[in-house]
Symmetry: C2
Subunit: 206 residues, 2 copies
DNA sequence: GTCTATAGGCCGATAGAC
DNA sequence: GTCTATCGGCCTATAGAC
């Protein structure tokens, strides 16, 4: 995912410091509110060094933010081929997905991508491709298996997958993304996921 | 909604110019990327005049952005008490809601609220209260009427309302909010809404 | 209230020494 | 590659005249 990391394995500690500092600052405060002075100070590096590695603030932001997809092995064991209890599997998937979307890091990336997508078109595209789009594709493929097992009744897998994810972006997620509520408790998350799975199963379950 | 407007009915054209300019600039570019010079220039007003009306950039932003709720009479005739064709009514409601959410002005406010909610907590709260929360409350009230008419089968109106709105925030909305796609066509909107209403009705219709 | 002019500082970016 | 030192400019905010 982060291909450039291979070109700087351990080679340039300063560059690594810059990357870490820039990522943290940009994710926390967005593009406009972060200055190159701040990045240099946080990275314990002079501005000249910073500009030796990145041509401009825009280039730094674009480089750091793009390909910042899902580093988490989110999908590991998420889509079992053998399913006894479909409801339980969907609830486990949903809980995992919603938990991931509610992580501070994911939310920060979402907020920055949304806010700066107009100025950095690649950012919106990359976020979508590495995030929601990948998740949906995997879900669609898994739906194919479930369909063959006769566990679901799905005319249009694309729509079924989209709606599963849309149902996860519930009010809990909206309120948290707007910084209204703190991180919801496990109970709140499970309640929201259970309600979403209920609805999805009534539409697509057999 | 905009209470302060009553204190400056037509009285201060300069103040009105400032409000219009600031709103446009902040919505288009966010907080950090807009300067007071820019606001003054766009409003055809000197910076001193600007600071005579608003104590600081933060105060200007907070004043302009808060209580910028739904000026549109979005809800007018949206919730009919007499319903023959429930599906048609839900599709009409959904289309209207999705269209509103996809308007450039609504999206800009959403992006700014999301990006700056951490720095301006009131902003996230106000956006939620004037937008999604109000819509959900009206939907819940309307669901009560539908329930009495025996047209729907809803255990928890809150969940049913939340999920109706979540289903409207579909992939079409996500892609547009990330500036990936242009404004979707009428057909795309209707297809998305129809699929959402299908699913919602299978879960809550009678 | 409104202007011109400017203070004082931080901005992005660079020159030059090592 | 890395530093110190600094450029010219734009930033938020204000002083003082009218």
């Amino acid at each position: 995912m982060d291909i450039s990391a291979e070109f700087v394995p351990e080679g340039s500690p300063k560059r690594r410091q810059i990357q870490v500092a820039a990522e943290q600052l940009f994710l926390a405060h967005g593009y406009g509110a972060v200055s190159m002075d701040q990045v240099a100070r946080t990275a314990s590096v002079s501005k000249a060094t910073l500009y030796a590695h990145f041509a401009s603030k825009e280039a730094l932001f674009a480089t750091i933010m793009q390909d910042k997809g899902l580093e988490t092995p989110l999908y590991e064991g998420m889509f079992p081929e053998q399913v006894d209890d479909l409801r339980a599997v969907l609830e486990s998937m949903g809980t995992r997905l919603l938990r991931f979307m509610l992580r501070e890091r994911t939310l920060s990336l979402y907020r920055v991508a949304l806010a700066e997508a107009a100025r950095f078109p690649e950012l919106g595209r990359t976020f979508y491709a590495n995030g929601p789009c990948t998740m949906r594709e995997r879900f669609i493929a898994w739906l194919g298996v479930m369909d063959q097992s006769g566990l679901v009744q799905v005319d249009d897998r694309d729509i079924a997958a989209e709606q599963f994810m849309a149902l996860m972006r519930s009010d809990v997620f909206l309120r948290r993304s707007l910084s209204i509520d703190p991180l919801p408790t496990d109970e709140e998350i499970e309640r929201s996921v259970r309600a979403a799975v209920d609805t999805w199963l009534r539409a697509f379950g057999r």
